[in-house]
Amino acid sequence: MLLRHTTAEPKVEREALTINPSKTCQPIGAMYAALGVHRCMPHSHGSQGCCSYHRSALTRHYKEPVVAGSSSFTEGSSVFGGQANLLEAITNLFSIYHADVVAVHTTCLSETIGDDVPQIVAKAIAEGRIPAGKHVIHASTPSYAGSHITGYASMVKSMVTSFAKRTDKRLNQVNLIPGFVEPSDMAELRRIANALGAKTVMFPDTSGVLNAPQTGKYEMYPKGGATVAEMVSAGDSLGSLALGPLAAGSAARHLEVQCKVPAQVLELPIGLRATDAFVDALRNLSGTVVPEGLMEERGQVMDFITDMHQYFHGKTAALAGDPDQLLPLAQFLRDIDIEVKYAVTGTPAPKWAKQMAAICGPKAKIKEGGGADLFQLHQWIKQEKVDLIFGGTYCKYIARDEDIPLLRYGFPIYDRVGHQYFPNVGYRGALRTLERILNALLDRQDRDAAEEGFELVM
């Protein structure tokens, strides 16, 4: 047993300790968001380990080369400040790598020594280090606050504050601001919008960047990503839909204040209800009607649930991951009568915990922030088992030790592929999730059935 040291008891009160985290630090979220901008080079203002770690984590998750620059702090820069490093970095990133946008995020190192990134960028502009038509945007992402979700939210907010402009002309388009989801999810959001006939601007958009096709040629900047022109135009849109309050809410609210673009903050369209809400909001904003095709997709989800409900009913699940994903997922599981017994997210999210408790019922154990980690989840599972675990790759230790099927969900997924190609959002995503759940449950039933109880048809 790999986690043989984890026991059901004792209760380990842990404000000051995380064992097997269900979160990571802010900068990687900022780096991921920046990759959703066309021809953008993310840049880590700190020591070079951070940047290498974020790049390798994203590369493992997407099986794509992730490129980013680092300010490569030394002991000297940590004492005297990182201004010289960032100025040199800006020059190099534009002259060597020909980026259109450089997206700088900070680290705990540069935050703690108090580097003033806006001032350094202003100096870079004054010194002519930023070529005409090119841009440097920045987000403050101290690793000791929030989580990777907070970092993602800060960089997306920075896209708004750096680019969105209000002109006299209102454009017949809707801003879609996805939370921390996969490129496949972002592509699916656009497909749904297109099916509705709604014109949209989506940022960030990592589709076509982190799930780009093999062409035999290396492209440092693949075709995908939101363009600067699109983000500028977001200030003239009819409205914004932020999908996921923690990861996308802040950007939409800033856009409302900055450019008077009305913001609606929705759940990520995971499962039936949340997708209905998204489709409805998009339909209303863009003044379009829901086409037959989408209704068919929805009908198929309904049909699947009706046909297979007997296998879902009364099953139990444990969830680990990001709050914006877990909330609509929990709702979806409840809607198909799977009981959510446990949910943890390391991301601080007190409001989420209350909402989760309302969805999952009084018996469910829900924990967020400090001490909400996979060790806690494992202890709960040891006390009372569940039928399914939803979470990233690191849940596989628990799944193996306790012999429970794991549905890989969220970030990071290092040991499987598919998440970059097949969405979890929308009706198609709901159908995929249903299929995965059913397969996991029925494979288990087949494996565990006594010979006389082994069924062919099921």
Binding site: L2, L3, H5, P10, V12, R14, A16, L17, T18, I19, N20, P21, K23, T24, C25, P27, I28, G46, S47, Q48, G49, C50, C51, S52, Y53, S56, A57, R60, A68, G69, S70, S72, F73, T74, E75, S77, S78, A84, L86, E88, A89, N92, L93, I96, Y97, C108, L109, T112, I113, P142, S143, Y144, A145, Y218, E219, M220, Y221, G370, F375, Y397
Partner: protein, 324 residues
């Protein structure tokens, strides 16, 4: 295709075979703004110490440092698996302001009774270096309280490159070496330590089997499939055999200075290097009868297995070019 030029400061670090002698510049810090594969001091220490499977590895810093280094190297253990878990003090904003020592002490007080490790390594990160926590003091107190070695690792990320992290890890290992009486020596079986082997895919087991078949006892492996007791008694070996010299020569030199243990540097890359490594060890123990003969027997045995298997690759790879 997008192409990137070579930074002026990096011209001397890139070479193409055939363009004259390859005098590559190395040990230079990265240029800010370059896309670099290089890592930090913490990363260096973490990879060197992480394979010690019965130790607690507590990362004192924000959660990321622990999250990104959580079991990613896959160092194999034949026994305990404690090294595969991720422990972080998960420093928060208030700790940055008021210091993280209390949080560290509290974490050790939870983890040591919970997991009963043979020892604990406490890694410093960038943030800890900046806020100035006294790791040494907290570790000494925890060590006295729980009766196991609690060893600080001076791996503040910004202090240099990954290489400096190797050195910090070696310094931490040196704090353990010599703290336990080694097993008595068998005069017929010379004893070595293997340094710089991390058992990523079971290589430490392969090497151990070669040496044991030669009649050489392997005391400690630094640090693949590593155990605290072996490390603490490693000063009982007669020779240190260093493979990854970049990471472990510092430890070999320190053990030579303190305990008079000589060291040799070897390579196990390829048939010739591996054979030469075994012969070199045999030659160091000339007084032991039959050792060289047994080494030759091991090499003969292995080469006759491997050589035929290589033929297919050789045919495919002949004439191919590589970039390193």
């Amino acid at each position: 295709m997008d192409t990137a030029g070579i930074l002026d400061a990096r011209q001397a670090s890139v070479g193409v075979a055939g363009d004259g002698p390859l005098a590559l510049a190395c040990e230079k810090p990265s240029v800010a703004g370059s896309v670099s594969q290089r890592a930090c001091v913490f990363c260096g220490s973490r990879v060197v110490l992480y394979p010690v499977a019965d130790a607690l590895h507590l990362v004192h810093g924000p959660v990321g440092c622990a999250a990104y280094t959580w079991d990613i190297r896959g160092s194999l253990s034949s026994g305990p698996q404690l090294h595969r878990e991720s422990f972080s003090t998960d420093l928060r904003e208030m700790d940055v302001v008021f210091g993280g020592e209390k949080r560290l002490a509290a974490s050790l007080d939870k983890l040591i009774p919970l997991h009963k490790p043979k020892a604990a390594f406490v890694y410093a990160t960038c943030l800890v270096g900046l806020i100035g926590d006294d790791l040494g003091a907290v570790c000494r107190k925890a060590s006295a309280k729980w009766g196991i070695p609690v060893v600080p690792v001076a791996s503040e990320g910004f202090k240099g490159s990954k290489k400096d992290g190797y050195k910090a890890a070696c310094d931490s290992l040196m704090q353990l070496v010599g703290t336990r009486a080694p097993a008595p020596l068998d005069p017929a079986r010379p004893r070595i330590n293997i340094l710089g082997e991390f058992n990523i895919a079971g290589e430490a087991w392969t090497l151990r089997s070669y040496y044991e078949r030669m009649g050489v006892e392997v005391g400690a492996i630094f640090t693949g499939d590593g155990r605290i007791d072996d490390i603490c008694g490693a000063h009982g070996a007669q020779l240190n055999v260093v493979q990854c010299s970049g990471s472990m020569t510092h430890l070999a030199k320190a053990m030579e200075a303190k305990y008079g243990i000589p060291y040799i540097r070897v390579s196990y890359f390829g048939l010739e290097d591996t054979a030469e490594a075994l012969y070199e060890v045999a030659r160091k123990f000339e007084a032991v009868p039959g050792l060289l003969k047994r080494a030759q027997a091991v090499v003969l045995d292995e080469v006759s297995r491997v050589l035929p298997a290589l033929e297919g690759y050789r045919a495919e790879l002949k004439g191919r070019k590589a970039a390193l």
